[in-house]
Amino acid sequence: MAKKIFPKEEVCVGCHLCEVYCVYAHSKYKKPTPKAHELIKLYNKYKDSKPTPRILVEEKSGEWTTFALQCRHCDDAPCTKACITGAMKKLEDGRVICDEEKCVGCWSCIMACPHGAVRRGENKKAASKCDLCLELGEPACVKNCPNEALVIKEV
């Protein structure tokens, strides 16, 4: 069974900090919590394109509700079945990850993911998605959300 992150829309304020921490955790720093100067350096690196977080904060004009959605690491993972390269795969621990080296950006995974949880990464080259920050022990978005609007649970 996979671990999943659950958003609580009741307490999310739409601050987008989860996105910032996500980008940082997947940068070369690979740490859960950034130091300010590292963060500035990191964002400076992306001159033309904003880095793509693996999490998506949903908001809609005229509405107060917001929440942060990421890959559900589905049991049947339709994205993996549609992937034409084998880049998108389900690991034994239940996580679904994208091997960005193999990905060719055909977006079959976007066509197949029922949650709209796959994003096109920087320069729209490879699919970018939540990998639960496994190397860090704990997802950076969950750890750093100031409102505890994200919870990780085994289901």
């Binding site: 999943k4 659950f6 958003p7 609580k8 829309e9 949903e58 908001e59 809609k60 509405e63 509700t65 929440f67 959605l69 559900r72 339709p78 994205c79 079945k81 549609a82 034409i84 390269t85 084998g86 080296e101 193999k102 060719v104 950006g105 055909c106 977006w107 079959s108 995974c109 976007i110 066509m111 197949a112 993911c113 029922p114 949650h115 709209g116 796959v118 994003r119 096109r120 919870v151 649970k153 289901v155």
Partner: protein, 422 residues
């Protein structure tokens, strides 16, 4: 118990992976006439363009067969099946016994009888060996190419060839390109973009004769035009690769007829992928749906049933995600309305060159075409699959920031949380 699979592509993978979820013991034998371990057909155009090298053509790790206890028999063709004695006969006349058989032989190129087809440098565009041969011809100096067929694979071939520096003309019998996934209006938008990259289209005509002395020199079209050419690529389409099974008791219509368990009319024999004709949930009829996800899903369903776990797959329908140069499109379901009571929703943002068209009937999405506005399209594919009533959110579906916030709270939470409490 011996599982035997004829064919070694994505439908076979689905089958192997399903069997190994429930049966770790019994042997699986995979037979393929191609010598390669399981690779991606859609990637052949990327290989030809130089975007993907040989090592990345393979869709599973090198130890895949070993890890899954699969015995591959590669480079050997199945020439017949003895359904009574439960044996597959190979071209060296050896026999492979099975208890459960999956036929996953996919598609073969459709080529109408054409004068000059036997000339050197006439190719089809399906297999790894096809693009290796085309690559060779380019290295030997080919400069001009004619591609027959403006469907998905023809245009992928044309894109790769132009990226390799050739002059490319695409010939298409229909009045539009990508006829299987786009209607006339959407097709025009994509054609304009592709033409900007130098590909020339000849629509509403076809090839009459390929002319040359030993190898291709010219192509004469049905409209009388004659084009200089060093290479001809036939990419008109695929038909089920099942000739070796014709005339047996196996029930074949266009493809091998299967039920929702992927069973054929013969006991212990299953079929999946481009060679099979299963139920199309959107068109509400039996059809061959020659696309990758369908092949995987059918193979997987077959695998479970072969291993004794009953599973059904009755939600197949066509869907495609494809890009040419910088134009990306995702389409699904019905793309040309087939009755009068279908409502059409359209939005064309000319500035962003983004286009969305959705067909709705009785509150349900029947199909869509999204061009350059594809993020989160899977939510809509899934709505087709689930038959969700979209009456109240119809017009939001055209906006590229459509999302879960457009759904009623309970439904959204059920989808995101899947029954769990955050």
């Amino acid at each position: 118990m011996r599982y035997v699979i004829i064919g070694n592509s994505v439908a076979a993978c689905g089958c192997i992976e399903a069997i190994r979820k429930v049966d770790l013991q019994n042997p699986i034998i995979v037979i393929s006439d191609e010598k390669y371990r399981v690779y991606s057909r859609p990637l052949i155009s990327y290989y030809l363009a130089g975007k993907v090298d040989e090592s990345k053509m393979y869709i599973r790790d090198e130890d895949y067969y070993e890890k899954n206890k699969v015995e591959p028999i590669l480079g050997e063709k199945a020439i017949s099946v003895d359904f009574k004695n439960k044996e597959v006969v190979l071209d060296d006349n050896s026999k492979v016994k099975y208890d459960k058989l999956l036929i996953a032989t996919g598609g073969k190129p459709f080529v109408p009888p054409t004068k000059g087809f036997e000339l050197k440098n006439v190719f089809t565009f399906i297999k790894f060996d096809d693009v290796k041969a085309i690559d060779e011809a380019i290295k030997n100096g080919a400069k001009k190419a004619v591609v027959i067929g403006a469907g998905l694979s023809g245009l992928k071939a044309a894109e790769a060839l132009i990226k390799r520096g050739l002059e490319v003309t695409v010939v298409e019998l229909a009045n539009r390109i990508l006829g299987s996934i786009l209607d006339l209006e959407a097709s025009k938008i994509v054609q304009d973009e592709i033409e900007k990259h130098g590909i020339v289209f000849k629509l509403e005509t076809s090839v009459d004769e390929i002319i040359g002395d030993g190898k291709v020199e010219k192509v004469r079209l049905k409209n009388g035009e004659v084009l200089d050419s060093d290479i001809v690529v036939f990419a008109i389409g695929v038909v089920p690769n099942i000739d070796f099974l014709k005339g047996t008791e196996l029930k074949i219509n266009r493809g091998i007829v299967v039920d929702e368990h992927m069973r054929t009319n013969i006991e212990d024999v299953y079929a999946a992928g481009d060679c099979a004709e299963g139920y199309d949930f959107v068109f509400e009829q039996q059809r061959v749906i020659p696309i990758w996800p369908n092949a995987y899903n059918q193979g997987e369903t077959a695998g479970y049933n072969m291993a004794g776990v009953e599973k059904t797959f009755d939600r197949g329908f066509p869907m495609n995600s494809i890009g040419f140069f910088d134009v990306h499109m995702i389409t699904a379901g019905i793309v040309v309305p087939n009755s009068d009571d279908i409502e059409v929703l359209v939005k064309h943002d000319k500035e962003k060159n983004a286009y969305r068209k959705i067909y709705v009937k009785n509150g349900r999405v029947l199909g869509f075409m999204f061009i350059n506005s594809i993020d989160r399209a899977g939510m809509i594919t899934n709505m087709i699959k689930e038959g969700l009533n979209v009456e109240s959110i119809k017009h939001r579906l055209l906006d590229d920031d459509f999302g879960y916030l457009d759904l009623p709270k309970e439904l959204r939470q059920e989808k995101i949380l899947g029954g769990a409490k955050a």
